[in-house]
């Protein structure tokens, strides 16, 4: 059973990440990060999420729209389902393969940034803070992937699903920027932003960790538990709900 899933994932990788999709995503990532990072702060900073958000959103949009929207639109999914494979397994294989590759690419960029900080800057790394960075990167990728998958399956069109996804993602980022909503960044709603939310949560958890163990000196944080919970709840709860909704949709969908 596991062998079949692996086979489906391998097929999905060959199909969705065919030349030059992978190369383009890697190139945009490197240009986006390497052209601005100063490699000097020692600790991870908001600049990673600020600079990578655009690339994460666009990559997820293209990859998941191609994997789900296009395969429904061009009836590839019907061909695949003519083989003895369940809809659920096919969905999981497609979703998992793309999620892991997107996370690996952005994780590699974050890892490269960490290595550069270690080598060129202080010679030491705040391991716990960097672990949180990887965790939140995964949650951001998970949320974006689940939302895009849901839209692609619901809309059943490659172009239209990308359009709706980009309007939602960038619309939210625009609306949540602090001068627009009441209370600015102190409003927990502002932490639904995929730029501010993860960074503020990392800062909050890291400050709690430092204070709890009473190690080192940390400047403290302006974020509260409600900010942290808003960001975490949105990413984990939203991502999970959208993933399950996508699974439900694909099981109930009339493909003919």
């Amino acid at each position: 059973m596991r062998g079949k899933l692996r086979e489906l994932m391998a097929w999905e990788l060959q199909d969705t990440w065919a030349f030059p999709i992978l190369e383009i995503v890697i190139a945009i990532c490197i240009i986006q990060v390497m052209s601005i990072t100063s490699y000097g702060a020692g600790a991870p900073s908001r600049s990673y999420f600020e600079s990578m958000l655009l690339v994460i959103v666009i990559s997820s949009a293209i990859v998941f729209a191609k994997s789900f929207g296009e395969s429904i639109e061009k009836r590839k999914l019907i061909v695949l389902l003519s083989y003895p494979v369940s809809r659920r397994r096919l969905f999981i294989a497609k979703y998992l393969a793309n999620l892991l590759v997107v996370f690996l690419i952005f994780g590699f960029v974050l890892f490269a940034e960490g290595v550069a900080q270690f080598a060129f800057a202080s010679g030491s790394l705040e391991i716990f803070a960097w672990t949180l960075m990887f965790l939140y990167l995964f949650l951001v990728v998970f949320f974006a992937s689940s939302l895009m998958t849901f839209l692609a399956i619901a809309v059943k069109r490659f172009g239209l699903s990308i359009f709706v996804f980009l309007i939602y993602m960038f619309g939210m980022e625009y609306w949540l920027r602090y001068p627009i909503i009441e209370g600015g960044i102190n409003n927990p709603l502002a932490h639904l932003s995929l730029d501010l939310g993860p960074w503020a949560s990392i800062d909050y958890v890291y400050t709690c960790y430092v204070n709890w163990l009473n190690i080192g000196i940390h400047a403290g944080t302006q974020w509260t538990q409600s900010h942290f919970l808003a960001a975490l709840g949105y990413l984990v709860g939203g991502g999970l709900a959208l993933f399950l909704a996508s699974l439900f949709l694909i099981n109930k969908m009339d493909l003919d």
Partner: protein, 168 residues
């Protein structure tokens, strides 16, 4: 096919790093300082660095650029002594500097550096203010991108040669 894909991915990494390197050329890194004669640590890239001594008292000062891994300034800069300055192993030194003098040099390795201004006798200065700027190509990124692009091209060529031999 797998070899070809590995080649194209490495080539993509190399070429995009080259573009990023070019974008970094445009970015100067301005900085300024405090009145105790110790500035930093700043992250310097291996490229041309210009330091302007806007103000120094007394004149005829000496400027040291020192790697933060080999020397660290006292936490309270008012406690800086001649003994601290004597421990400096500079990567660059300029002597006989006065107000509005500028020095340009090239950092060899990327890293965090202090800029220390001292009197000609190695004592801390009474007052100093600087600005600095980095311009040019960061050489480490340039070489890494060239090596990666070259490796990618070689792998693609090997793949092409292999497949053409197979066809013959």
């Amino acid at each position: 096919m797998k070899l070809f894909r590995v080649g194209t991915v490495i080539l993509a990494i190399g070429m995009s790093l080259l573009v990023a390197t070019y974008l970094r050329v445009q970015r100067g890194t301005p900085g300024s300082g405090n009145p105790f004669g110790v500035f930093g640590p700043f992250v310097f890239e291996p490229k041309e660095t210009t330091i302007v001594l806007r103000e120094v008292n007394p004149q005829n000062a000496t400027l040291f650029v020192v790697n933060a891994q080999s020397w660290s300034s006292p936490e309270n800069l008012t406690e800086l002594t001649a003994q601290d300055i004597s421990k400096i192993e500079p990567v660059f030194t300029a002597t006989g500097l006065g107000n509005l003098d500028a020095v340009t040099f090239k950092i060899q390795w990327r890293g965090r550096y202090y800029i220390v201004i001292a009197t000609s006798t190695g004592e801390p200065v009474d007052d100093a203010e600087i600005t600095f700027e980095q311009r040019g190509i960061p050489e480490d990124f340039l070489w890494i991108s060239i090596i990666l692009s070259g490796t990618g091209v070689v792998i693609i060529v090997i793949h092409k040669l292999k497949t053409s031999t197979r066809h013959d």
